[in-house]
Symmetry: C2
């Protein structure tokens, strides 16, 4: 029976790519208030698309921020209900000058669909939509019940989704949550992610004198906020890249020898990664491999720093202000609010005289973990092998999908990640793309996954 579905998907492939381009053309950048209208445009586009796919109860549900798109198909009595989560918002596209083709003018080159949001998350979300459509258009039914819940604020850390999930817990109730919003290990190696890092993001601003000052007349006699910022940030890490914020590592489970061994078994080349990133060497916390550093260890990262004159030439001033955008990736039992409090305390203790500091938390998400032995994870393994012709490996990912923890907790259901992206697809970076071959493999995987889930329970 899956042959008919696969045939349908192949036959409609060109239309899917064109639709996906139309979706990417909507610049749904949630971080910028300039794109407020585009957010709704993307939500409307998506709801119409879900309607065409044969889904029911399609609704645009309001939140205090961008709306959530909901749709369902609930005609498989006795079968599990899957909540398919995704997001229609995308990261900002800058630095624009580094894009080879404009971020919101999608184009296919060498089987890759380029455009902001291609892999994160528009094309991956679209594999879910297309698979459901293919089932409904060919068989008229699905082996499971499905609910779509697509938000528009994932890239700004889902500030309104926790409240939404809480207030719509009944509507969203499900037996599992399925998410396609991340990368596999590599193009020829499917993988199942059973852990994600959490995130605690902050913005910190230091203010010094009332305005920029002439550095000749005032330099040396008044605290420079950029220098103060450097001192504060410099105090946060030692030479071995260990984070010095007091209590930062509380709740982090030290990796056991078995854990190290499991990481060693993942096919992965640090040398290839080094070359891909074009750096002389990889770097990070002593005593850990690249994969461990980027998935099982917490971080404190400067995402952006600014202060004073940035234009052409030199302007010899003492700047009036300086700031930084920082974020911590968290693991195991670390808590984003607790980390914010600890970093804030550290910042306040290290702020020199003559400047004032303000700090706010802008992102929060708890770490996530599911046992690789869970029946739904096993079903995913069977499905990936069917879709990719190769057994998946089990990995933890360094990324964060803060809302996963909310879903798992509020809906009390396991989360299964069904990722079809690739690490090299420039997620959050210029020239983001999606390898279209994985659209075919991904829909084939999903097709089998729903069969497995539908057949494995009643």
């Amino acid at each position: 029976m899956s042959e008919a579905i696969i045939a349908y998907l192949n036959q409609e492939r060109e239309r899917y790519v064109e639709e996906l381009k139309a979706f990417i053309r909507i610049p749904s950048v949630s971080a910028s208030s300039l794109h407020k209208n585009d957010m709704r445009k993307a939500a409307v586009w998506l709801s119409e698309r879900l309607e065409q796919a044969g889904l029911e109860h399609v609704q645009i549900l309001e939140t205090d921020g961008n709306p959530v798109v909901y749709a369902d198909w609930l005609h498989a009595p006795g079968k599990p209900t899957a909540l398919i989560y995704g997001h229609y918002d995308v990261q900002p596209a800058d630095p624009l000058e580094q894009w080879e083709t404009p971020p919101f003018e999608p184009v296919v080159r060498d089987g890759k669909l380029f455009g902001r949001g291609a892999t994160d998350d528009k094309a991956q979300l679209y594999t879910q939509v297309a698979t459901v459509e293919a089932y409904l258009k060919t068989l008229g039914s699905l082996p499971v019940n499905v609910k779509f819940c697509i938000e528009g604020e994932e890239e700004i850390a889902s500030p309104n989704l926790p409240a939404f999930v809480n207030s719509h817990a009944e509507l969203l109730q499900a037996d599992l949550i399925a998410i396609s919003d991340g990368p596999m290990v590599s193009k020829d190696q499917p993988s199942i992610c059973y852990g994600l890092r959490g995130l605690s993001g902050f913005e910190l601003e230091l203010k010094g004198p009332k305005s920029d000052l002439h550095s000749g007349l005032y330099g040396g006699g008044v605290a420079n906020p950029a220098t103060a910022l450097v001192k504060i940030l410099g105090s946060m890490k030692d030479e071995q890249d260990r984070i010095l914020v007091e209590g930062f590592y509380e709740g982090v489970h030290e990796l056991t020898e078995a854990d190290h061994q499991a990481f060693r078994e993942i096919p992965f080349s640090e040398e290839d990664t080094r070359k891909e990133l074009q750096v002389a060497e990889l770097a990070g916390e002593e005593g850990y491999t690249f994969l461990e550093r980027t998935s099982a260890r917490p971080t404190l990262e400067i995402n952006g720093i600014y202060g004073g004159y940035q234009g052409e030439g030199l302007k010899p001033i003492v700047p009036a202000a300086a700031g930084v955008k920082l974020s911590c990736r968290l693991v195991d039992d670390q808590d984003p609010d607790d980390i914010f409090a600890k970093v804030k305390k550290h910042v306040e203790a290290h702020t020199p005289a003559g400047v004032t500091v303000s700090m706010k938390q802008s992102h929060r998400g708890k770490p996530f973990y599911i046992s690789p032995q869970h029946p739904y994870i096993r079903a995913a393994a069977v499905a990936y092998e069917a879709g990719f012709g190769k057994k998946p490996v089990y990995i933890r990912s360094g990324g964060s999908i803060p809302v996963i923890e909310v879903f798992a907790r509020v809906l009390n259901a396991p989360v299964v990640m069904l990722d079809f992206g690739l690490p090299e697809e420039n997620m959050h970076a210029p020239n983001e793309y999606f390898q279209l071959e994985n659209f075919d493999r991904g829909t084939a995987t999903l097709c089998r996954f729903w069969q497995e889930i539908g057949g494995s329970q009643q």
Copy 2:
């Protein structure tokens, strides 16, 4: 005889202010290549103005950068020849949003002329032009010979003026160099500056991975250039604001008790300065007062810092690059090229693995000193007392006019600073202005100064 000149200056005052506004309206920002045409426009405007003032041999002389405006009046045989130096270029105007009125739309409020370049250096230069004109229009002659040499690259550290002075040494030959391009101690306290700090300015850029990376997938596993920058900059100063670059203080003369005493005698309120700058406390190198820190001690200052995402919200990335604009104010026998070499060595020694660093020197100027006992400085003291009704105090200034050292060395002539600006006039900052009362006091001072110089020698 000076009464007639002063009367002329008073009578023409309104015209002078209007002309000055026209001068300020030309956005002659030397740091930006966008203003290339405005530089020439300012030079042409100025040359026409000097011609009208009665000066001769008015010429726009080319350099490898912006042109120099030259003019002279040489009909006082046996009298000293003064070279009047100034600059027609101005600092960039940003941050634009902090200006109460647009920087290049000059306006008078409460006797203050607001606009970019008002005090630095257009109005101060204009006191010189107006004084010479007043002499020539009333008496038909000056008590001295004068040559004007007005450049258009002072705000970018006069890269082409040393070569120009060398190749035009005969044309520029003079017995003294007179410069009006700095601030007095305060509105009611004229001062004579007998020392200036030097300047060595650098731009430093760190490159990490080929592009911005997703901080979840790569964070912790690759060197972050912003973090590396923070480490490098953090290593340059200790907790007492002492500069840790090896050999940095070589050539700095430790202040004697007599020096400290001379600084204490300058009427100056640290508390007023603190309030004016709107900071909780002043700060700086331990063991020195504000005036000492800002004029007799060297500095290492961050003028601008940048890296990664600076827009609205948070973008969780590992940035591909980060950079800083740094400058050192130098004193006594410190040498800008030597300081650049030392800072470069420090940067290279502190650059962490996984990033590459590039560094270039963008500004250089040696420190300057003249004895307060020099006859021309004494003449200036008499002139200030005549113009302001109060004896001047003797000060060192923290600012830098790199070309002063070039003039002093190549032309082998003493430099006399005749400053009519004020510290609070927002030089290099938003809302720059010039207190117009000092246009009257300044021209009166200059009027007397030329008399003193013309009479004191033959």
